[in-house]
Amino acid sequence: MTLLDVRDLSVRFPTKKGPVLAVDGLTYHVEPGEIISLVGESGCGKSVGILSLLGLQGPTARISGSAVFDGKELLHASEKHLSAIRGRQVACVFQDPMSSLNPVLTVGKQVAEVLRRHRGLSAAKAKAQVIELLERVGIPAPAQRYSNYPHEMSGGMRQRVMIAMAIACEPRLLIADEPTTALDVTIQAGILELLKELRRDTGMAVLLVTHDLGVVADIADRVIVMYAGRKVEEGEVRALFANPRHQYTRRLMEAIPRRGGGGDRDRRLSGIPGTVPTLHESPAACSFAGRCAVASEQCRTALPPFAEIAPGQSAACWHPGPQAAEAVTGAHP
């Protein structure tokens, strides 16, 4: 049974210049035990697309669509219902472990809060379990670390505390919003390894938001590429990396630095000119057309349907053919 089924999710934020459409008709699903990655540039709506499921996107957001978790609708659920799910069935790890922990409470107490809330444990029992959890996520000397304040720990250790907090009640879904972005590369690898390990041991699903395709390749089973609030491509990770179909995904791949040019000495690292547009209305065209090198008249006047292009791989692009990549390289020597 599908663990999380999100359909046609749209999120608008009111601004002085009118409502901004942060997420535009996003549809995706998560199976139990699966690691799914949402990728895209900053501002493409990937974080909002998952935080809004738990009502964490701030009070001003206007949300429509549906998100069914374990058979129950999450959007527009009561605060009471949501607070019973948060931390117990769906837990979160956020981007910045520096600011995501409360500076005036010890890390041990912050982890213990989850257990006391959802498991109704006494302070002493919770403490014993927290120490086990801290050990589980690879924090050395957990009994001493229990009474440390966040500022007394390194970024990597803090992120491990965040993960300990998230897995305390063995959630069925872990939402990780750029969990490694603020960390050093060596620390990143350790955190990703931990997430994979926890998935293997507990069978929880992971919904990982990132803009780092290296992280995606390392950990994800399935990838969803977002652009300007829309899903533009989705596929099994190997297939998608081997043969990206949407023009935007292709350009993203070309922007990954590779040692020695990835076997091609003449390959130049390319950025994508322009920025993600801020949308007020859902455009009846491909949102990437303005930045796309192969965009045609059709791209600017008609919304490409999200369709299966190869088995297990779908994209919303008018030019998904495999030869288009060379056409791009040819157009920009």
Binding site: F94, D96, N102, Q110
Partner: protein, 318 residues
Amino acid sequence: MLRFLARLGNALFTLLIATAVVFLGVRALPGDPAVALLGEEGDPAALEAVREQYGLDQPVIVQFVKYLQQIVTGNLGDSVRTGLPVTDVIAGAVPVTLELTVVSMLVAVVIGVTTGVVAALYRGRVAGWVVSVAALIGLSVPSFWLGLMAILVFAIMIPILPASGFVPIDIDPVGHVTHLVMPALVLGTAFAAVIMRQTRAAMLEALTTDYVRTATAKGLRRRHVVMRHALRNSLIVVVTIVGLQLGTLIAGAVVTEQVFVIPGFGKLMIDAVATRDYPLIQGVVLITATAYIVINLLTDLLYTVVDPRVRVTAGEAA
């Protein structure tokens, strides 16, 4: 330890400067204590005798050095008007003002923090608006007017509280409390408004932080998120304000004591200035300056209780 010694040295230097400024200040003002004591028609010889008795005929610098020698032995001189030792006079008035100030502060903190949290949580709604307007009024209304209105309403129109005066606690405990209610509320009002505004601002900021989002994402109940995560961090700001404003509160006590005829420090100060009682003025200012400095030191110490990050910095320095 070094840091503490540096702070202490700093404090003593501040006290010396304050003493010098007041010492010179009162002597630069028009008016002569001898004349204030004996009257304009006083016998010139008698006036001269009084001046000699209090050392006022000597050069100012000599007077100042003598005064400094006196204070380090704990002697603040004798009041020119009553002849009583200044230390005794002040010791009689300080507890009265201290009680009034501390009670006012407690009232202000309880009212200010509560309403500040309400204003932050109900921002943009009726409850938040009402609290904010009330705070603005509390800030704007002068305390002497508020005091007079309070007397008019609660002592005259609805006579439930005594209009003014002071009863020592050992003579009549109940009367002591009833006499304190109105002055404490009046003195605390403006302070409560300041605390409310600071609490509101700090809470609004805290509620948008990542760690409050984390607390919510953990599934904690809203009340728990607000009280334990957001408020706890906001209190750092409140402690600072309480420390900074406590001095202002003592100054406010001067006016409140006048309105309610309370024999405290503030009333003593006004009387001392009115009668050109040099030793008493100097004593009062010296004690006030000391109080300010001690309060600031205590505020620093309180920080370390509320904010663990400061504890580490202090530990590293020591």
